[in-house]
C-alpha cells in the first residue's frame, strides 16, 4: 500500500487562469467522495499547504482530477507544471462528503472556479434521481468552465455572464430567484463559488425558505482540525471548515467575516506571486540567452 509519487497524467488550461489536471493518487481516488478536497504542498522544505477541490475521481485508473485558479504563488507554480511532472505532496480526501440523496428538484449554482467542486456533486445528485437545474456563471465568456460537463448532467441549464458575452447577461442570482419563484419550488439548492456569490445566493433562497448548502474555501494549514485557521462563524458559533465542513447550511454562515478572513494574507500573497514571476522571467531570460 506504499504511496507512489503523484504524477500528472494530463493537464489542460480551461481559461486564462484556470487549469485542470488528472493526477495519480490511487489511495485518494478510491476513498474520495463528492464534496471532499485535498491539500497540496509542492515542496517539503518551504512549500505552503493549499486546499484544492477534488473535481473528479477515477478509482480504476487511480487518478483524481484537480481544477485550480492561478491566484497565488503555489497555484502559479502548479500551472507551470506539465504532464509527467510530479506533485510532491497530496493529502486527502479531506472534509465531509456531500449528503447525496434524492431531494427531488436540486438547483446547482456555480460561479467561476466553484464549478469545479460543484461538478462531482451535481453528477452524484443526478445519479440518485434528482431533477437537476444548473445555473453556471462567470464574469465573461472566456472564463466559463465545464459547460459541456454540466450540459450532460442537467435537466435544465442556465448560463450567465456578468458582461453578457455569453448566455444571459446577469449574475447567477437572477435565474436562481426565477427558479425559486416557480410554483413547484425547488427542494434543495447547492451554491458554490466566490464567497460573495454564495452570500447573495443565500440571501435569495432564504427569502423563499429553500435549504441551501454552500461549500467554503477558507485558508487552511493542516486540514485535519489542528490549527483552526479555517474557522468561520456559523450560527454565532466557531466552526472549522476542514473538519466540520467544507459544506454548511448557507443561511447560518457569517459571510462578511469569512470574506475578510480570506483576505488576511492578501499583501503577502501579492508579494509572493510577484517574486515568483520575477524569478521565472529571469529564468526564461537566462534560457533564451
Amino acid at each position: 500500500m506504499l504511496k507512489e509519487p503523484h504524477k500528472i497524467v494530463s493537464k489542460k488550461q480551461l481559461s486564462e487562469n484556470v487549469f485542470t489536471a488528472w493526477v495519480r493518487a490511487p489511495l485518494i481516488a478510491e476513498a474520495a467522495k463528492p464534496g471532499q478536497f485535498v491539500i497540496v504542498c509542492l515542496s517539503n522544505e518551504y512549500g505552503e499547504r493549499i486546499p484544492l477541490t477534488i473535481a473528479g475521481a477515477d478509482p480504476e485508473n487511480g487518478t483524481i482530477r484537480l481544477i485550480w485558479q492561478r491566484v497565488g504563488k503555489t497555484t502559479a507554480e502548479l500551472a507551470d507544471l506539465k504532464a509527467e511532472d510530479k506533485i510532491m505532496n497530496i493529502v486527502g480526501p479531506l472534509g465531509n462528503p456531500t449528503e447525496i440523496k434524492n431531494y427531488g428538484t436540486a438547483v446547482c449554482v456555480g460561479g467561476g472556479i466553484g464549478l469545479a467542486p460543484l461538478l462531482p456533486i451535481t453528477r452524484a445528485l443526478k445519479k440518485t434521481g434528482n431533477y437537476i437545474i444548473s445555473i453556471i456563471g462567470a464574469r465573461t465568456k472566456e472564463l466559463l468552465i465545464l459547460e459541456n460537463e454540466f450540459k450532460d448532467i442537467s435537466d435544465e441549464l442556465n448560463i450567465t455572464t456578468d458582461d453578457g458575452s455569453y448566455g444571459q447577461k446577469a449574475l447567477v442570482t437572477e435565474p436562481l430567484e426565477e427558479v425559486c419563484q416557480r410554483s413547484n419550488k425547488p427542494d434543495q439548492v447547492f451554491a458554490i463559488g466566490p464567497a460573495v456569490m454564495m452570500k447573495f445566493c443565500c440571501e435569495v433562497t432564504k427569502k423563499y425558505n429553500i435549504p441551501t448548502q454552500v461549500s467554503l474555501n477558507t485558508i487552511m494549514v493542516d486540514g485535519t482540525g489542528m490549527c483552526g485557521g479555517c474557522r468561520i462563524e456559523y450560527d454565532g458559533q466557531p466552526k472549522f471548515v476542514c473538519v466540520d465542513g467544507p459544506e454548511f447550511d448557507g443561511h447560518k454562515v457569517n459571510f462578511e467575516l469569512m470574506i475578510k478572513r480570506l483576505n488576511a494574507y492578501k499583501y503577502q500573497e501579492k508579494k509572493a506571486i510577484e517574486q515568483y514571476r520575477n524569478y521565472k522571467c529571469k529564468l526564461e531570460d537566462k534560457i533564451e540567452s
Binding site: Y46, V91, P93, D222, C227, G229, P238, V243, A264
Partner: protein, 500 residues
C-alpha cells in the same frame, strides 16, 4: 571561572576520588554548571538553538555534583525510570558511551528529552542536592547531562539490532515521540512496521510545535533516519480516518496490530467576542506556520505567510505559550505580552522557558485574562479588553482558582493575539473507527498496558492523556510496543497451532 580553572578543579576532584576520599561536602562545593547559551539580544534575531550544551569539563563537573544516593529519588521522579544515578556516574568517570547505553535502556530519544523534558518537576524535583540547597534549580542538571551524552552520538547514532522477521504487520499512526518509540521497539522485535503521518513531514509535535530554538529539527530528523535504517516504512500525507480508516487497515490491509499516537487535536478557543478577527491565531496555527513551514523565511524561500506582529499578546502559561511568545519575538514583534489568569507559580511551563522568555523581553501580565477582542472596520485586531483576576480556593487540579474582579476592565493595544490555552481531542479516529471506546472528553480509553477496547489496537500520548509531554508520550509508546510484541507473539503461536 575560566575553562582552565574548571579543568583544574575537575582534576583535583578526580584525584580525590581516585584516592577514595571524595566527600559529599566536596561535591556540594562544586558550583552548578551553567549551560552556555546564546545571548538574549542576539538570539532574539535568529531561530537557532538557545542552549548550546555543556563542554566535556562542565559535564563531568556537573556529574560529580551527584551524591549517588542509594535510594535514587531522581529515578522515582522519572516517568520512564531511567537509571539516572548510574548514567551520571558513568559521565563522572568519563565513560560517555556507557552513560548513553544506560539511558537508552529506558529512553529512546535522549537528545530530545534532554532538551524538552520538564526536569524540574520530575527527576530534578526529587534530587537530594537540590533539596540540600532548598532550591530545585540547584539540583544536579540531569537533563543537560542527558543531552550532553546524546549529542556526542548525534553523527553516528547506533542502529539497534533487529530480531528475525516475524511476518507480522504493525501500523503506527502518528510520527510524534510516542509513534517513533512504538515503531522502533516493535521493529526491533522483527515486525513489519509502517508509520502513517498526516503531515508532509515526520516528527509530530517535535516538528510542527516545538520551535527550532528549543529543539533543532535536525535532531528529530536523525531519529527518523534511524527508523528508516531499521527498515521501518514511513508514509507521509496519510490520514488514518480519511485516506483509509483504522478498520480498513486492520481488516483489509492486513495489519495485525496498531498503535494510535495521533497527538492532541483541535485548538481550544475562549468563546469570547472577536476570536475570529484577523490576527487571532491558535498557538497550533501560529507555531505550525512558523515551524513546520518555516514562515519566518517568507519572502526568502518559504511560501507560507504569517502575521508579522508589532505588538502581540499570547494567552496562556504553558510551554506552548512560551514557544508562541518567543516565536513572535523572533518574527520581529517589538512588544510581546504573555497574559495568564493565575500567577507565575501556577504556570505549567518549564522554569527554563519562563526564564528564557523573560530574558527575551516578554512582558508577563499575570492575574489577567481577555474578556473580548476588538477589531477595526476591516476585522483586523486592534485591542484586547482584559479583566483582572485574583486567586481563590484550589480547584480540582489543585491550583488556586482564578476569580475575575468585576469592573476591572482595561485595554491593551495589540495587532496579534495567540491563544495557547490547550487542545481538545481530535474526533477523526473516533468518528471513523467502530468499537473503539472513548471517555467524555474524546480521549481513547486504555488499560495499564495501553490496550484499547479493540483487540490488537493500542494507544498512547495526548490522544489518551489529554495534554501530555514528550517523555510521557514516549513512555506510553514503549509500554504499548511491549504489549504489541507480547500480543503478536501469542497471535503467531496461535496461527502456527491452527495451521498444524
Amino acid at each position: 571561572m575560566t575553562q582552565s580553572d574548571d579543568k583544574k578543579q575537575l582534576d583535583k576532584l578526580l584525584e580525590k576520588q581516585r584516592k577514595g576520599n571524595l566527600k559529599p561536602s566536596d561535591r556540594f562545593e562544586i558550583p552548578p554548571q551553567p549551560i552556555p547559551e546564546q545571548e538574549p539580544h542576539k538570539r532574539k534575531k535568529n531561530i537557532s538553538e538557545v542552549a548550546l550544551g555543556y563542554t566535556e569539563t562542565q559535564a563531568r563537573l556537573e556529574a560529580m555534583r551527584c551524591l549517588q544516593c542509594k535510594n535514587v529519588p531522581c529515578v522515582k521522579g522519572c516517568p520512564v525510570r531511567i537509571r539516572i544515578k548510574d548514567f551520571i556516574a558513568a559521565i563522572a568517570e568519563g565513560h560517555y558511551k556507557k552513560a548513553l547505553q544506560i539511558i537508552k535502556e529506558n529512553s529512546l530519544l535522549p537528545a530530545v528529552c534532554g532538551r524538552v523534558c520538564p526536569q524540574e518537576v520530575q527527576c530534578q524535583l526529587t534530587c537530594t542536592v537540590g533539596k540540600k540547597f532548598k532550591d530545585p534549580t540547584k539540583a544536579v542538571s540531569i537533563g543537560r547531562l542527558e543531552r550532553y551524552v546524546a549529542d556526542l552520538e548525534q553523527d553516528n547514532i547506533q542502529i539497534p539490532e533487529i530480531a528475525p522477521e516475524t511476518g507480522m504487520k504493525v501500523a503506527v499512526i502518528g510520527s510524534g515521540p510516542g509513534g517513533i518509540v512504538a515503531a522502533a521497539d516493535t521493529r526491533r522485535a522483527g515486525h513489519d512496521v509502517t508509520v502513517f503521518e498526516a503531515f508532509h513531514k515526520t516528527g509530530g509535535v517535535m516538528v510542527y510545535g516545538i520551535p527550532e530554538f528549543r529543539l533543532p529539527k535536525s535532531i528529530v530528523q536523525k531519529e527518523i533516519d534511524v527508523l528508516k535504517k531499521m527498515g521501518v516504512k514511513i508514509i507521509c500525507n496519510f490520514i488514518v480516518g480519511k485516506t483509509r480508516t483504522l478498520d480498513q487497515l486492520m481488516n483489509e490491509e492486513g495489519f495485525d496490530a496498531a498503535y494510535i499516537g495521533v497527538g492532541a487535536g483541535l485548538p481550544r478557543f475562549m468563546s469570547i467576542e472577536g476570536e475570529s478577527l484577523i490576527g487571532v491565531y491558535s498557538a497550533n496555527e501560529f507555531l505550525t506556520r512558523a515551524n513546520l513551514m518555516k514562515a519566518y523565511d517568507f519572502g526568502k524561500g518559504a511560501d507560507t505567510p504569517i502575521a508579522k506582529p508589532k505588538i502581540a499578546a499570547v494567552i496562556g502559561g504553558g510551554n506552548v505559550a512560551m514557544d508562541s511568545a518567543r516565536t513572535a519575538v523572533r518574527l520581529g514583534a517589538q512588544k510581546v505580552y504573555l497574559i495568564y489568569r493565575r500567577t507565575e507559580k501556577e504556570m505549567p511551563a518549564r522554569i527554563e522557558e519562563v526564564h528564557h522568555a523573560k530574558e527575551e523581553g516578554i512582558d508577563f501580565r499575570i492575574l489577567q485574562s481577555p474578556k473580548r477582542i476588538i477589531g477595526d472596520e476591516n476585522f483586523n485586531v486592534t485591542d484586547i479588553e482584559c479583566l483582572k483576576y485574583r486567586l481563590g480556593e484550589p480547584d480540582e487540579s489543585g491550583r488556586r482558582r482564578p476569580i475575575p474582579i468585576e469592573g476591572s476592565e482595561f485595554h491593551i493595544e495589540v495587532d496579534t493575539v495567540i491563544m495557547a490555552i490547550g487542545n481538545i481531542a481530535n474526533p477523526l479516529i473516533r468518528k471513523t473507527t467502530t468499537g473503539l471506546e472513548f471517555n467524555k472528553w474524546g480521549n481513547i480509553i486504555v488499560d495499564e498496558n495501553c490496550k484499547t477496547s479493540i483487540e490488537g489496537v493500542y494507544a498512547g500520548g495526548d490522544i489518551v492523556l489529554g495534554a501530555a509531554t514528550v517523555i510521557l508520550a514516549m513512555g506510553q509508546g514503549r509500554i504499548a510496543a511491549n504489549s504489541i510484541n507480547q500480543y503478536l507473539k501469542q497471535k503467531k503461536k496461535q496461527t502456527l497451532r491452527n495451521t498444524k
